[in-house]
Assembly symmetry: C2
Homo-oligomer: 122 residues x 2
């Protein structure tokens, strides 16, 4: 067996505080929940989508209105709406050629607003 130049420090084994760590492990959020929460926040984590959601929180808008309001191409808006639909942040209804979007529920609006308020006072 060759002599290693320097044994790598394995912090994971040597340094933890057993009781604190096992307590924290026990109370750790389940991976699935963490993943879902992360996906929710990720969907909120883009300036374009924040603008869209903020506008949709106030009134129902069709795709081309959104496009005009936030000054982005219809295609870009459509792609982003797909993300928002996937995260269940918006709902929509079809009316002839038009698709009318609005924010899904007040919990979503509240979460969004809380984030915005947080950065406003920071």
């Amino acid at each position: 067996m060759p002599i290693k130049k320097k044994e790598r420090a394995v912090c994971e084994v040597s340094c933890d505080h057993p009781e604190t760590v096992s307590l924290a492990k026990k109370e750790l959020i389940p991976a699935r929940q963490a993943q879902q929460a992360a996906e929710l926040f990720k969907a909120l984590g883009d300036a374009t989508r924040v603008k869209m959601l903020r506008a949709l929180a106030k009134r129902e808008l069709c795709v081309c209105d959104i496009s005009a309001v936030i000054k982005m191409s219809q295609s870009a808006v459509s792609h982003q709406l797909r993300v928002l639909r996937g995260a269940r942040l918006v709902k929509y209804r079809k009316e002839g050629k038009r698709a009318w979007y609005s924010i899904n529920d007040r919990h979503v609006a509240a979460l969004l607003l809380q984030g915005i308020e947080h950065v406003r006072h920071a």
Copy 2:
């Protein structure tokens, strides 16, 4: 002037509802605020960071404890802590070799919890 095969549909010009759009434009969130809110949500938008924050919301932990609790390399944890520091989601203090991290304030904890609760009942 050559004849174009098909004039591109310019939805931005043809389809908007002037009053609704100008109202929505007036009430549109400022770009800077949208950007900052997006950055806040983006920092929350990763399962690893959600796990870390959830643990840090309950108790102060040093880096290697976090590493043990969420079962990730110390290096990965350090990199993620940098992101969290950058977004002001955590605070820390040095104590000898150790760095003790905890969640920055109750607003951050509330926002995190609200996101988690939202996916739990969804």
